[in-house]
Symmetry: C2
C-alpha cells in the first residue's frame, strides 16, 4: 500500500473561494455584523473536482491513500482575525471531511488550524479536537509563521506553543509544519517561503530541547525537509559545534521529512542521507508544480517514480517510506485504512 502523506485540496469547487472572497470583502465593512456564512457545494461537485485530478493521479501513479488537508496557500492566517480564521478553517475542514466521507478508501483528513497572528496557539485546540474526535482526522498542519512572511511568532520550540503540543500528544496526532501564502514580497510562496520555513523549523528543533519535554511529539517537515538533506553535513557540523545530539538521534522519533522533491537526483540524496525511518512518501499532488518535466516526460510531482527509481533503497525500505512510517507517525490512520497488501501477505504467511 502507498500512503501519500502530503496532499491539499487545491482543486476545491469554486464556491469555496467565493465564500472566502466574500469573507475578506466583509472585513472591509466592519460596520455590518459578521455572519459565518455557508459554502454551498454538492456531492457531485466534490466528485467532479477530484475525479479528473487527485483520484485520476492516484490510479495512474499507483498510490492508494492521500492524507488530505485544505489548500496550504489558502489558509492565509494573516488575513482578518481569529474569528475570520476560525470560520474559514471550519469551512475548509468540513469540506475535507466530506471528501473523506465520499472516498473513504482514498482520503484521510488532516486539518487546517485557526491560527492568527498574535493569538495564542491554545486558541486552536477546540478546532483540532473537533476535527480529530468528530471528523476522524489524523493530524494537523501547523503554520510556524501565521503572519505570512514576517515571522513575528515565537520559534516552534518556544513554550508559547506548548498548550497545543500537549493536546497533540494527548490526541496522538502529528503536525506537518506548513506555512501558507506570503504577504511579504521577498518570498514567493511555493518557491521560497515554503522551503525556508522547512529549513527554519529544522534548525529550531536542532537548537532546543523540545523533544525532551515532549518525547512523543511528531512533526513532518514537508518538501523533502527544505534545504536540510542537501546541507546535511552543515547540520551535522552545527549539531556537533553546538554540543547538540547527533542528527539521527535528535530526529529519530520526532522529526520526519516527506518526499516532495521533484527530480531523481534530489530524491537519491534524500534517501541516501536521511535515515529511512524518518522519510514519508509524499507528492504534494495536486500542488506547487502542475506540469510535465520535459526531461522525463512525466509529471514533476510524480514522486513515486523517483522512489521506485532510487537504486540504493531496498524493497523493505521502500515499504517503510510508502506505508509503515506513515502508520507510525499518523497512528490514527490504522483505524481508518486497513493493512497493506504487504501486511496482508505477511499475515497470510503466518497462517
Amino acid at each position: 500500500m502507498v500512503i501519500d502523506c502530503h496532499g491539499h485540496y487545491t482543486t476545491a469547487p469554486k464556491a469555496l473561494q467565493a465564500y472566502r472572497d466574500a469573507q475578506i470583502a466583509a472585513l472591509e465593512n466592519r460596520s455590518r455584523p459578521r455572519s459565518k456564512g455557508v459554502v454551498e457545494i454538492s456531492d457531485d461537485e466534490i466528485r467532479a473536482s477530484l475525479e479528473g485530478a487527485q483520484l485520476k493521479f492516484q490510479r495512474e501513479r499507483g498510490t492508494d491513500v492521500t492524507i488530505f488537508s485544505p489548500r496550504a496557500a489558502g489558509m492565509a492566517h494573516h488575513i482578518g482575525d481569529a474569528t475570520t480564521s476560525l470560520d474559514w478553517s471550519q469551512k475548509c475542514n468540513d469540506l475535507i471531511s466530506r471528501v473523506c466521507g465520499l472516498y473513504p478508501d482514498n482520503f484521510v483528513g488532516v486539518c487546517q488550524l485557526p491560527q492568527s497572528p498574535g493569538v495564542r496557539p491554545e486558541n486552536c485546540i477546540g478546532e483540532l479536537e473537533r476535527c480529530v474526535n468528530e471528523l476522524g482526522f489524523i493530524g494537523c498542519n501547523l503554520n510556524p509563521d501565521p503572519s505570512g512572511g514576517h515571522w513575528t511568532a515565537p520559534p516552534l520550540t518556544d513554550r508559547y506553543w506548548y498548550p497545543l503540543y500537549e493536546k497533540m500528544v494527548e490526541l496522538d496526532v502529528p503536525a506537518m509544519v506548513h506555512v501558507s501564502s506570503s504577504c511579504n514580497p521577498n518570498f514567493h510562496h511555493t518557491g521560497a517561503h515554503y522551503i525556508n520555513a522547512d529549513t527554519t523549523a529544522f534548525m529550531q528543533f536542532l537548537t532546543a530541547d523540545l523533544f525532551k519535554d515532549f518525547p512523543t511529539l511528531r512533526f513532518i517537515i514537508p518538501h523533502g525537509g527544505g534545504a536540510v538533506p542537501y546541507h546535511w553535513g552543515r547540520y551535522r557540523g552545527l549539531a556537533q559545534d553546538l554540543k547538540r545530539p547527533p542528527l539521527d538521534e535528535l530526529i529519530r522519533n520526532n522529526v520526519f521529512f516527506d518526499t516532495c522533491v521533484y527530480h531523481q537526483a534530489g530524491i537519491d540524496l534524500l534517501v541516501k542521507i536521511v535515515p529511512i525511518d524518518n522519510i514519508l512518501f509524499g507528492s504534494e499532488m495536486v500542488g506547487a508544480i502542475r506540469s510535465i518535466d520535459p526531461e522525463t516526460g512525466h509529471y514533476f510531482d510524480d514522486t513515486k517514480r523517483y522512489i521506485d527509481g532510487a537504486r540504493v533503497v531496498s524493497d523493505a525500505d521502500k515499504q517503510k517510506i510508502f506505508e509503515t512510517n506513515a502508520r507510525r507517525v499518523y497512528p490514527r490512520i490504522n483505524a481508518r485504512v486497513k493493512g497493506s497488501r504487504y501486511a496482508a501477505h505477511a499475515a497470510q504467511e503466518l497462517l
Copy 2:
C-alpha cells in the same frame, strides 16, 4: 590554481570587535557627539590571526587564493543607522585591505557595504567605489535583508536596488548575496537565515527580468545556492509553469553558486545538476562549521576534498570550478592574481 571565492575574516584581532562594542555602546548615549574612532591593530597581530588559521588551511588543503571579505555575521546592518554602518564598514574594509597588502598572493578583497534598513542602496556607492578604485577590491557582499531577519527591504529585483547595480556594472564587480546575523529569534543565522536568503534570492531572480535590464550584472549565491540544487526539479517546474526561461538559460551569465556544502553527497548533487560554468569553488573557511567530521576525519568545510572526490566531474570541469569561473565572475582578479599553473603550462606548450 585554486581560488576560494568565499572567505570571511572571522579570526580578526580582538581590537576590531572592541571597536564595534564601543560603537554600539555609544549608540545608547546619543547625547555625546559620535566619533568615528580608531581600530588599533598591528601588522603582527594581523599576521598572527591568519597564520594559524586561513593561511594554514590554504597550505594544508592545497588552495591558493581566497576572495576575502569582512565577517558576514559581523556586518549586522540592523544596528544603528547609516552612519554607524558606514563607520563600521570602512573599518572592516580597511582591515581586509591590510590583509591583502600583507599577503597579496593569498587574499583578494571583497567589501562589506554600509547598508542600513530603510536607507536606499545608492548610499553604498561611495564605499563601493572607494574599495574598488582605491583599495583594489574585486567585488562586494550585498545583504538582501539589512533588517536582520525581518525582511523589510524590497526584493533584489526591485528598481530600488538599480542605482547600486549600475555602479556594479560600471565597475565590473559582482556581488555575493549574503545576509548577516539575525535579530529574529526564528532564524539561526548560519543554520537558517543564510540558507533561506540564498533560496529567496534565487526565486526572486527566477521571477523577474532583472538580467534583461542588466545583462552583465553578476551574483554569487553562496552556501551551494541554499536549497536550490536539491530542489532543482521544483525550480525547473516553477520556471516552466510561470512561463519563465529554462533555469540554465536564466542563470547563465548572471547567477553563480559556490561550493559551501559540507558533505560529499551534497557536492555530488550540485555538480551533477547545476551547469559547471555556474559553480565557483568556495569553502567559507574559517566559517560556520569549525570542526572535523567524525565520519571522514576531515574538516567539514574542507570542500576541496569533495570536489576532488566528485567522480562525475572531469579535470577540465574541475579547472573551471577551481579557477576559470572565478576569473570570469570576478574579472578584476586577473590584474591581481597571475595566471594559474594550468594557464602557465598551457602558455609553455605554445612556445
